[in-house]
């Protein structure tokens, strides 16, 4: 694998925004041209591109994805292909024969089929209503997958107990904001 590609993957795993920016700008033109050439007219390809980059980011950061054979570009295009096919499901056939690899584990992590739409909305709302400190703590734990020890090392909280206590307060707050109201 090209050294630059390896480095870029590592930076993506480290949640480096500059790396994401590089990927976004580097492949945007090719992505839009490719899907346009495959007959994806009438679809908001710009949005498909945004969605695909988000999924790529989720997989690198949350799953610490390591691409050994595929490149970042082919991985991104594979996600894009799935997204475009979702749009055209049952509408028309697109010709992707052998042009984009099939890559597993590129699904959107928010596809939690058995959760009701109302619950999803409530959860998304609750998180947005939390303060910045809570969002930061929950992000480190649930998004980036840090351990409590790693959270102490990357924040200004003095020790593990303090982090645990703040995290538990934030969870409580989130629960209050997303509580299911009866009646």
């Amino acid at each position: 694998m090209v050294r630059n590609e390896e480095e870029l993957q590592q930076r993506l795993r480290n949640n480096d925004r500059q790396a994401l920016r590089e990927v976004y700008l580097r492949y945007k033109g090719d992505f839009l041209n490719f899907f346009r050439s495959k007959g994806s007219q009438g679809v908001d390809l710009e949005d498909i591109y945004h969605e695909s980059v988000v999924v790529l980011h989720q997989n690198f950061v949350m799953k610490q994805l390591q691409l050994e054979k595929a490149s970042i570009k082919s991985y991104l295009f594979a996600i894009g292909k799935n997204k475009v096919l979702q749009v055209f499901k049952g509408i028309q056939r697109l010709d992707f024969t052998d042009s984009v690899e099939e890559i597993p584990h590129a699904q959107d992590l928010l596809d939690q089929g058995d959760m009701t739409e109302e619950r999803k909305r409530k959860l998304a709302y609750g998180y947005k209503m939390l303060g910045a400190k809570c969002r930061e703590l929950l992000n480190l734990y649930y998004y980036r997958g840090f351990t409590i020890k790693e959270m102490v090392a990357s924040t200004s909280y003095k020790d593990e107990n303090t982090v645990k206590s703040y995290k538990s307060r934030c969870m409580k707050k989130l629960k209050e904001l997303t509580r299911v109201q009866n009646g």
Binding site: R17, L20, R21, Y24, L25, D44, E46, D47, H50, E51, V53, V54, H57, Q58, M62, K63, K83, Q86, V87, F88, K89, G90, I91, H105, Q107, D108, L109, L110, D111, Q112, M115, E117, R119, K120, R121, K122, L123, A124, Y125, G126, Y127, K128, M129, R135, L138, N139, Y142, Y143, G145, M171, L174, L177, T178
Partner: protein
Amino acid sequence: MDRERIFRRKLLGQLTAEEDVELESLLQQDPSAKEEFESYRETMFAVVAGEKEELKEFLHSLDEPAKTRSLTFQWYAIAATLILLLTLSFLFFRPGNASDLYSEYYESYPNVYLPVTRDYAGQDSLLYTAFLQYESKRYTLAAQSFENYLTRVDTASEVSFYHAMSLMQLEEWDKAAGLLDELKNSGGAKDFEAEIYWYRSLIDLKRKNPSAAKESLNRLLETGSSFKKGEAKQLLEKLN
């Protein structure tokens, strides 16, 4: 490995087949483990959904054309700064008015209604498009799409709320106020009750009608919601 690590790996599809069977059996046999798992899953969902929205805003900002800086630009910048300073000093020595308060307190409302579902091919695709446009700040298109959805598919109150939010962005105060009033009177969009009063009060500020704004703010506080509670109290003090 602690239980939450296993939950995380399960949700990310990273468990081995053996680990997966073991976890499934635990979840079936132990209700408290099941409850813990559901709580973990919901929190992770909330975080991923929120982060996604923030990421999309970041990507959107990358599409904005880079500013070119030239000598002329610098002169314009200096002139603009002087004008700004003069304006600020003028504002500083006069009492604030209702319309200024609007600018101070207004911020667009995030898409928390359809933030994440991606079933493009379903019958909700019109709604999906509308929210996409809303999220990417293309409010003219969003307003049209919301209106189409409300006319053709469903008269969901929550969608009507976002229609009103798009109209506020387009400064169509009368139409936005009309929609919010309809929601207030019909008791629709219960989840957005406090939000409806908040934005209705801001429209009244914009229309230079502070007494109506105060009434909406008081109603907001009566809902008991924590949404903009502090800001509502602050605004009421300023208006009194």
